[in-house]
């Protein structure tokens, strides 16, 4: 409060710069939990624990509550607060959001379209790292063609009964909850007959099987649902309105998530610079240009979301730019570090190898690159 015309000190709720500065100060005095999360840890279960501890501390002292509405346990503010939090963390070497990615993919849709009482209970647990989330969209026969998915939801006296199989479900192995897109209408109903359900992965009939990936990690999973009962109040959006929820989620996954995902790439460039050769400066320059394009384009996406306007097909642009940057950065990292492929003993090399290999597949998830280009041609360039 200001009295008698005294100038108020910068307020983190209304001043992003003040928020960032205050958070940096806090990190300075909570070095232990930060050091743990910033370490190069190839083994996922250990990395997950380190991130949970960091997130618990950030939540306990309120930092991760900025940017979320008070009605669901936040402190108010906008997505710019969340953007600033991860910017500061990545500058302090936190290597990425990892299993907290869904805070910026799923959680915005849960807050906007989910059952408020449930979300008010679940979001703080997610922020604190107690109960994590996953996203059940893709199926063995429904990847780019999401509207052809076959997992069914049948309404009974006890609630909805889910049957089917989801695949490429990131972080399901560590998650308590899954937002599942299932067919509540007829097979012919395509995108009009889908509903988004909040499914408890601890429920009877759910089986989560981790998928060992080509890069040596296993954050992806296959999730099967065998007569899984879901209470009727666990619907996000409207019944048969799942497509709208999916589009809300994909708008974040493509449009604003680029901001969160590209930040650690700057730190990766800084970390690799001392060992780099001048012969690779052009490749580094090009990677920097690609990264700057993501910074600038996803910044515009944050602004659009902060103002409450849907991004629509324009969300495809930061997504395609992010993929290009992720690949050119990792191309340069590979050039600077010959140990990256061959050294199984060094933990830094091991993590860089995982990241390098994962960067080869970024053009597939969240809607394949070909789908993004189709969207741009049709909906932005108006090619009939």
């Amino acid at each position: 409060m200001s009295y008698l015309g005294l100038v108020e000190s910068p307020d983190p709720l209304h001043d992003i710069g003040a928020y960032s500065n205050a958070l940096e100060g806090w990190l300075g005095s909570n070095a232990d939990v930060l050091t743990l999360a910033a370490a190069a840890i190839p083994e996922y279960a250990t990395r997950v624990d380190a991130m949970r501890q960091l997130m618990a501390a950030l939540h306990a002292d309120g930092w991760s509550r900025y940017g979320w509405p008070e009605a669901v346990g936040g402190l108010g503010g906008t997505i710019l607060h969340r953007a600033a939090m991860w910017e500061v963390l990545s500058r302090r070497n936190v290597p990425g959001m990892a299993l907290f990615e869904h805070l910026e993919i799923l959680a915005p849709a849960l807050v906007a379209l989910g059952p408020t009482d449930f979300v008010a209970d679940a979001l703080p647990r997610f922020l604190a790292g107690e109960e994590l989330w996953s996203q059940g969209f893709s199926e063995p026969d429904a990847g780019s063609d999401l509207a052809s998915l076959r997992t069914t939801a049948r309404l009974t006296d006890d609630g909805y009964v889910l049957n089917g199989r989801k695949i490429w479900t990131s972080w399901a192995r560590y998650a308590t909850w899954c937002l599942v897109l299932a067919r509540s209408g007829t097979t012919e109903s395509r995108h009009r007959g889908l509903t988004a359900f909040i499914v408890d992965l601890r429920a009877p009939g759910v089986e989560v099987r981790a998928i060992e990936q080509a890069n040596g990690t296993d954050e992806l999973a296959e999730v099967t649902f065998d007569d899984v009962l879901v209470p009727v109040d666990r619907v996000v959006g409207d019944v048969d309105g799942g497509w709208k929820v999916a589009m809300h989620i994909l708008s974040h996954e493509r449009g604003t998530f680029a901001w969160f995902r590209h930040l650690p790439l700057y730190q990766l460039l800084v970390d690799c610079s001392p060992d780099a050769r001048s012969a690779d400066d052009v490749a580094l320059g090009n990677a920097l240009l690609d990264l700057a394009a993501v910074t600038a384009a996803s910044r515009a996406g944050l602004e659009v979301h902060a103002s409450g306007i849907p991004m629509g097909p324009l969300a495809a642009v930061p997504k395609v730019l992010l993929c290009a940057a992720e690949q050119s950065v990792n191309d340069w990292v590979l050039a600077t570090d010959p140990d990256l492929i061959l050294d199984p003993f060094d933990e830094i090399a091991a993590v860089r190898r995982q990241e390098y290999l994962f960067s080869r597949i970024v053009t597939v998830y969240g809607g394949s690159q070909q789908m993004q280009l189709d969207t741009i041609a049709k909906q932005i360039l108006s090619m009939s």
């Binding site: 910017e87 320059g285 944050l302 642009v317 730019l321 009939s384």
Partner: protein, 324 residues
């Protein structure tokens, strides 16, 4: 076309108005109508700066020409030497591998005096009759000249100690301006190819129905959005940018501008490679501006080297986030 650079309503309106006026072909008249001389004297005002730089995007799209760039380059010198507003145009230095240092001029200077900067010994001011303008006849519909004259012994109008900061500012403003003009020129090429893809029929259907063609143009759009986003941040942050964003904007505009024109050419096919088709003017303008104030090849290598040695690795994202 929708822009993904998140441009504001003011810029959108200004871009629309400028394209409307430049469509009539006379860049000099458009500058008067758009109040150019009021914009260029107050570049520390963010909204005026956004409008001034948006002009160059419009000029590129329309392949119009005017002395706007050379008056912008003169402005930092004008500020220090108190020349009459709008009375001076600055030449663009170019180092030829074959012929050594040269000076260029874009747009007919009219009765304005020419400022020629001589790093190390200040900038001189020359009357129109003290110099010779030789037109450079290359594609691009640029009113482009090589400037010759004997100014080596002329007393400086801006002494070296004032010219040093003016030179730096002038170069940085110029880079962002030509980045936006390259963006506009490349967007023009993309628009030509998009229209053509709807009209040109092969195998019984417009070629725009083929995914190979659609993806070429979608990539070109993404590349234009990248230039737009970076150049806009360079204008927004201006002197507050933690890294040389003018160099980033110029480098990505040259690199992506060329890529966009190449993709458009592929879609246009043979007709796009003829003198009667406008594509080569859009492409030519991109190539011309990529060749001055630091090429994309030079700037990209320098950005890499500066970052690697830690000379320019400040956090861009933090500044971009804070500078809304």
């Amino acid at each position: 076309m929708t822009t993904a650079g998140g441009i504001s309503e003011i810029e959108e309106e200004f871009l629309h108005a400028a394209v409307g006026m430049l469509g009539k072909g006379d860049g000099t008249a458009a500058l008067e109508s758009l109040g150019w001389w009021d914009l260029v004297v107050d570049l520390d005002d963010r909204d005026l700066r956004l409008a001034a730089f948006t002009y160059f995007r419009a000029q590129g799209r329309c392949l119009a020409t005017s002395p706007a760039l050379c008056t912008l380059l003169a402005q930092p010198f004008t500020d220090r030497a108190a020349f009459a507003p709008g009375s001076v145009v600055a030449t663009i230095p170019r180092l030829s591998r074959r012929r050594g240092p040269l000076q260029l001029l874009v747009g007919d200077p009219g009765d304005r005096r020419l400022l020629v900067d001589r790093p190390g010994s200040g900038a001189v001011l020359l009357d129109r009759d003290e110099i010779t303008l030789t037109p450079i006849d290359i594609p691009g519909r640029l009113d482009l000249y090589e400037v010759t004259g004997n100014w080596s012994r002329t007393a400086p109008a801006v002494p070296e100690h004032d010219a040093i900061p003016a030179r730096d500012r002038s170069t940085r403003l110029g880079r962002v301006a030509v980045a936006l003009e390259m963006l506009g020129a490349a967007e023009g090429a993309l628009a030509l190819a998009t229209t053509y893809s709807a009209d040109r029929v092969q195998f019984g259907q417009p070629i725009g129905g083929f995914q190979a063609v659609r993806h070429l143009l979608a990539w070109a759009y993404v590349e234009s959005a990248a230039i737009s986003s970076v150049a806009r941040q360079a204008v927004m942050l201006d002197r507050d940018a933690p890294v040389p964003l003018d160099e980033y904007a110029k480098a990505i505009a040259g690199r992506n501008g060329r890529r966009i024109c190449e993709r458009a050419l592929q879609v246009l096919g043979g007709i796009g490679f003829t003198a009667e088709h406008d594509h080569h003017h859009h492409h030519g303008r991109v190539l011309a501006f990529d060749s001055v104030l630091g090429t994309s090849a030079e700037l990209t290598a320098n950005l890499g080297a500066s970052f690697r040695t830690g000379a320019a690795s400040s956090p861009l994202a933090a500044a971009v986030l804070a500078g809304s």
